[in-house]
């Protein structure tokens, strides 16, 4: 799940989020070749087929809300959103 606009998507300090790569504090996975930020939801090692897409989109919405909080406070995005649970 990628954020295709705006690109680059910047952190509170002005640096592009994609420069962090796979980041726990910003809940991102590897950016695509054009620098689009990939939102971390369930990594391959944690994915199973009972995780419905609805949950992935829910994580996207949560991530956007947390990103707004990050911009407002400068604190890590991970402080506003928990890692998604594996249970169905």
């Amino acid at each position: 799940m990628y954020v295709n606009y705006p690109n680059p998507l910047k952190m509170a300090n002005g640096a592009p989020i994609s420069s962090l790569g796979v980041s726990h504090k910003m809940h991102t996975l590897a950016p695509d070749a054009n620098g689009m930020v990939q939102i971390c939801h369930w990594r391959d090692a944690r994915w199973h087929s009972a995780i419905v897409l609805q949950k992935v989109f829910l994580k996207g919405l949560l991530w956007i809300e947390a990103y707004e909080q990050h911009l407002a406070t400068g604190r890590d995005l991970a402080e506003f959103v928990h890692t998604m649970a594996e249970t169905v």
Binding site: S23, R43, D44, H48, S49, A50, T87, V88
Partner: protein, 482 residues
Amino acid sequence: MSADIVQQQMIQEAMKAIAERKPGRSKLVYDKTRRTIVAVAVGVDTPRALNITADDADMFAIVTLSSHWLRKQWPEIEKGAIVSVRFSRWDDGDAFTQCDLGPQPSSSIVEGAVQLGKELDSSDDKLTLIVALNASDASKRGVATFVAPNGSAYQAMGWRANESIDVVFADVQPELGKRRSGILETTILSDKSVLIIGLGTGGAHAAVELAKCGVGHFALVDRDRLSVGNVVRHPGGISQVGRFKVNVLRDLIHDKNPDAEVLIYPIELTYADQKILRELIAKADVVVCGTDNRPSKLLLNRLCVEANVIALYGGAFRRAYGGQVLRVRPKQSPCHECFVAAMPEEASDVEISSDSDANDIAYSDQPVAVEPGLSLDVLPIANMLTKLALLELLADKPTSLSLLKRDYDAPWYLWLNRPEPGTNYASWPPLSESCDEMTINRWYGIYFDRDPACPVCGDFISSIAASYGLDPNSLPSLPEEE
């Protein structure tokens, strides 16, 4: 009579006694002062000498020749042909083993020949075996006797550089079968096929152990090469480093069961290769999964459930503080998807034994260390994986192992090597203080139910539809998968 002649006679007497393993009037000793072997009368004190016994005679070099190979060559040899043969030379010439006996010969090879009782010139380095009729009592026939296709018994003597070397015959399959016959009939597993995916420590040990049990057909899937770091846990050794693990295991299997058919596939278990995986699964009686990442296990789970083939999933927890084996009997017991849904923590607790394992779960700002466990701690899990595979292979055959069906009827098996801090098992009591509580170093068979909404073995669509109050029959049909 000169002293030399007396000594020669005594030596002959002593050697005869050694050969017959009977007490004689003379014995051989190594005279440390003269630094030579001499014969002395039995009973004479020899404080400056070491006795040479019949057991020392067994220390002489030996040639091992395949009976199976010799039987195949016998029509030609019987006609007087000299048949070429190659030997591995081991331990500075202490043992010469026919290269055809196994897949991994020595780096030092000696050319040889086999012929039926003829004069020979053995002055060169070639190892020539002279086979001659053995007139000894049939009841005394042992490893030094070869029984020809016509039933006649023969013995052989090897000659190299004008020195004689004893010859023994190895009848491989009968000998291997005999060692298993107390538990397994000789050929009971020779028609069984096992697909092993992932040849790390667990999968590789399972492959070798199943070969020892006599399984006749293997398909091996693994894309990795053996690295130096693998060697402290893997059956492959330093001399195999750099080879694909499938090739290493093929040779190890053939070293234990020369007649086994071993098909190798140096590929990764991915969605892209599912066509070939489906073909391999369809031919397998049991699938053993030794991979340590979830995507590969879940893909294999789906394919095996679809094909209705029993699969076993083995894995160690981090730093091998314990491990687990899951057996999936499609549509009868919970599948791997059910397991992940029911016990996500246990399903996620995997050993980080390589950089790629670590990269799968690490973040740039939250690195994950590679922390493999000890071989010692992985082997109990590999053994259980093998035992369960064996029981499934024998399911339709009566053996003394059939008794174990009642003991191994749970879908999930848990083993702990230590009460790892930070886990649910940290408070387990010490092994020595517990009678009926769970402790380390014991297997626990654990029951749990299939997930009726499992996307692989359950009715996922109906369950989702029901949760939204929809009639599944009113939903449009899903597109066909490409």
